[in-house]
Amino acid sequence: MDIMASPPRRGRFRPPAAARVLGLVCLILMTGCREDSVFTPIGPVANGERLIILDSVVIMLAIVIPTILATVVVAWWFRASNRRAKRDPSFVYSGRVELVVWSIPALTILFLGSLAWISAHDLDPAKPLKSNVQPLDVEVVAMDWKWLFIYPTQGVATINRLVAPTGTPLRMHLTSATVMNTLFAPEVGSQIYVMNGMVGTMWWQVDRTGTYFGQSNMFSGDGFPGMRFEVAGVSPAQFDAWVAATRGRGPALDETGYRALLKQSSDLKPYAYGSVAPGLFDAIVQQKLPPGEGPVQAGNKNPFVRPVRSP
């Protein structure tokens, strides 16, 4: 026997404590998510994804909770001080137990694997959304550190504001004028990486009017937290009105305007461009317009040692 072993005392190890913590956790999770989150989807994409998350959690909890309980119960029951526990140190192999032990996780994974396979296809971000409504084209450019949304058909563009007519699929083509980013709005749905010189396709749809939070979700440098945008869900009529009111007014997004945008800046308030040079997006993708220039030009003392973000 172990020489130092004071007889294990009751009350030292308290499984109820662990159980209590776990209960608290579940409670936290459930209450926490009633606020704006992936559990308050406003479109078919987020809706589908929320369903997958819930399904998989429920399926797995069916094993996870019993496993946790079994761990606590077995450990506690076989504690050294329990006279009633039947000891059997020779219980080191059992073909039947092994079979069960391999098949439980295997079956679960078989089930969840099918879910993964099917949903990976169904909810592929590039897969067109089924709808009777004509999709709206939006071209998205990630910049240091703001989002440029171009409406090629309407000939307008916005910074940090995605205006989305409700019930209309958004066919988005995305690229980056700088480093990698992802366009992310938790209540709307999927994200994909945007990269310079490449185009990604992603479909979104907003079904409810309102303003929703969006943010780049892939760290892209010092100004990253300010790379927010809002998703404005508006009725189709309001959308048309907005386009009519915007077109031809305010600044124009031509090559000069674009080059000015390439300079690093963050926390920009949303604003709109009344006109967009045709083919701008393609020129960015084909790198006819250069990618963002990084912090060098920002006028630091010695940028090659510790560059500081320009104000």
């Binding site: 050294a80 969840l112 990976a120 943010q215 090659f304």
Partner: protein
């Protein structure tokens, strides 16, 4: 041409009081310790017996010590991030982005490469040769080189605190952000060179342990009799050999981009950033299993010992281990489902990732059945193990969620992901390290660690863990991205406060561990492990005295079954004395201590620093020094030292006497 390359006064962050003060404090502490060592006259001992040591046990201890010191550094970073996020709602908080971004990058880098890795490698180094019944690892001096190259990486990372800056692009330097255009500072260079140098050390250590396990086992210790910890160590080190060269090569390509204008991963001129992500994760996913497999090994040893039972399903554990070893190379793409590769590719990799959960689940159940029918003693290592089993299944569950591509489309890269990987890596690796630390401490030092403070640390850590990371799941579901220096969404802030409280609880846990160590050293006489088997162990390391002599075993043990030591102990208990006859002692040859590792690392730091700051003459100097060290080592005449048989006999007989006494008194 400037003599010091890019280095000038602008490198010192006079405008940032926090790193400056922290750096000054560290320098003062280090100077203080060095002064103390010289004042007390300990310097020759430390130099000869530790720094130059090629003894795998001492190297193991030094690896673990390095890891513990770096845990404190990494944790201070974590605490700063937590407090920043608590206050940075609608405000800049107290850390500007230029600084905050360095902190999360340093935290991740340090925790993975300089806490988890050295801790796990240290335990393997210490334990594996003892469990295999051999006197040292295959290449003892290489082992020392590996240790000191890791330390060189640590030094470079910490130097960046006061000289220049550390990387600001995260723990993995995704291009093009990490390219010269977007990160012109020296931070990424610090990161890359530190990891290039320590990576070579890790690879050398991996080769060493694989060779040891494959070639140097005690007579009769066939593969199917090897303790499970050795199996997991074998798997882990095989993975190191396969994966670390990929990391080294990938970072080398990035360095070529940055130094010589190559275009591997740049935006322009045909660079391909997606290649970087593939390459880095081909190393990165195996890396997590490199860490977690030996941790599973620790848990297997601990659960079996403290349940008083052999491990349930030993062979299925081996199968599970080796299955994980292979499958983990086939899943890297799950780190970028959101790159848009399409349903087929995402589906295949999603399923492959889930398949790993099967052998992992099997392991959990096997530990459960190891306890079943046993006599469970809730000593500190066992508490860590039980907390691990409970907590890890939650992390595993969220991991499987992230392996479902559409779920990942919405959870990727936000705090849900951060919660998930802390939820697997802290219970999975850190708790195992702590369990192993308490479990093998008496073997290393001859006395046990204080139980009360150990339990206090345990509770603070576990409760702190739940408080610190469960809120992150919620924040993730509420859409909070990772790496946010400040934010405007009010609903995140309460959870950030809870997480800060959790981090404070972890801080208390760490404090308890420090106190535990101090108290235990003070009370070492009461805590003495006088005959070498304090936990009623089952594997060969417990046959040696604590601490084991330099040569570990006076004669190589002869293994006749699984659980080599347990069988002998049972026989001895019956007879109330050691049943093995006193052997014929012989002179033993042991490798000589050598400063090669330390000197090598010294020149490696010199070269790393020179490369970071473009000080080319220093680079040449460092290279010549390193090469000269190699030549001197290769031309040495004496490489072994004889331990006379009288000395061997004295040590072994004394141990036998102590053990016999303990057996007679019924203490074994």
């Amino acid at each position: 041409m400037k003599l010091l390359g890019k280095l000038d006064w602008s490198a010192i962050p006079f405008d940032q009081p926090i790193p400056l003060a922290a750096g000054a404090l560290v320098i003062v502490v280090i100077l203080g310790v060095v002064a103390l060592i010289f004042a007390k006259g300990w310097a020759p001992y430390i130099w000869n017996e530790w720094i130059c040591s090629v003894d795998h046990k001492r190297i193991g201890v030094m690896y673990c010590s390095l890891a513990m010191v770096m845990l404190v550094r990494g944790f201070i970073d974590a605490l700063m991030m937590r407090t920043q996020q608590s206050v940075a709602f609608h405000s800049g908080g107290y850390l500007p982005p230029e600084h905050y971004d360095q902190i999360f990058s340093a935290h991740g880098t340090i925790m993975i490469f300089f806490v988890a890795m050295p801790f796990v490698i240290g335990l393997m180094n210490f334990v594996v040769p003892l469990q295999l019944g051999v006197r040292d690892v295959a290449f003892p001096t290489l082992n020392s080189v590996a240790l000191w190259l890791t330390a060189a990486g640590v030094l470079l990372v910490n130097m960046s605190l006061v000289v220049g800056e550390f990387s600001r692009v995260g723990w993995l330097p995704y291009p093009p952000l990490s390219e010269l255009t977007y990160s012109p500072g020296v931070g990424v260079d610090y990161y890359c060179w530190a990891l290039e140098i320590s990576g070579i050390g890790t690879l050398a250590g991996g080769i060493n342990l694989v060779t040891t396990i494959l070639k140097m086992r005690a007579p009769g210790l066939s593969y199917t009799r090897m303790p499970i910890f050795c199996w997991t160590a074998l798997a882990s080190n095989l993975m190191i050999i396969a994966a670390f060269p990929v990391l080294t090569a990938t970072l080398a390509m990035l360095l070529l981009d940055r130094y010589l204008g190559f275009h591997f991963f740049t935006n322009t001129m045909g660079g391909n950033q997606m290649m970087f992500m593939n390459l880095i994760w081909i190393w990165g996913h195996p890396e997590v299993y490199i860490l977690v497999l030996p941790a599973f090994g620790v848990y297997s040893e601990v659960v079996s010992t403290f349940s008083g039972k052999p491990l349930f399903g030993y062979r299925s554990m081996i199968v599970a281990t080796m299955a994980i070893c292979i499958i983990s190379f086939l899943v890297w793409l799950h780190h970028f489902f959101t790159m848009g590769p399409g349903g087929d590719v995402n589906g295949v990799f999603g399923i492959a990732s889930m398949i790993i959960a099967v052998p992992t689940g099997v392991k959990i159940f096997n530990w459960l059945f190891t306890m079943y029918g046993g006599t469970v003693r809730f000593r500190v290592p066992m508490l860590w193990s039980i907390a691990f089993m409970i907590t890890f299944v939650i992390g595993g569950m969220t991991g499987v969620m992230l392996a479902i591509p559409p779920a990942d489309f919405i959870l990727h890269n936000n705090l849900f992901l951060v919660a998930h990987f802390h939820n697997v890596i802290i219970p999975g690796v850190l708790f195992a390290a702590f369990a192993g630390y308490v479990y093998w401490f008496p073997k290393a030092f001859g006395f046990k660690l204080d139980e009360g403070w150990g339990k206090a640390a345990f509770w603070f850590w576990v409760i702190g863990f739940y408080l610190a990371f469960m809120p992150l799941y919620v924040m993730g579901l509420e859409g909070m991205p990772r790496r946010m220096q400040s934010y405007d969404v009010p609903q995140w802030q309460p959870w950030a406060h809870v997480a800060t409280v959790g981090a404070l609880s972890i801080m208390c846990g760490i404090a308890c561990m420090v106190i535990q160590l101090v108290v235990s050293i003070r009370n070492r006489e009461q805590l003495r492990d006088d005959y070498g088997d304090p936990w009623d162990g089952r594997t060969l390391e417990w046959i040696t005295p604590s601490p084991p002599p330099e040569f570990n075993f006076a004669v190589m043990p002869n293994v006749t079954g699984e659980e080599a030591y347990w069988g002998l102990k049972e026989a001895a208990r019956e007879q109330q004395r050691i049943t093995r006859p006193v052997p014929e002692y012989e002179d033993l040859e042991m490798p000589r201590n050598s400063p090669t590792g330390f000197v090598c690392a010294f020149f490696a730091v010199m070269m790393g620093f020179a490369l970071i700051w473009h000080i080319w003459w220093l680079l040449v100097l460092g290279f010549i020094g390193a090469y000269a060290t190699l030549v001197v080592f290769a031309w040495r005449d004496l490489h072994e030292r004889i331990i006379p048989k009288e000395e061997v006999a004295r040590i072994d007989l004394e141990n036998r006497a102590r053990r016999n006494l303990a057996l007679q008194e019924g203490r074994v």
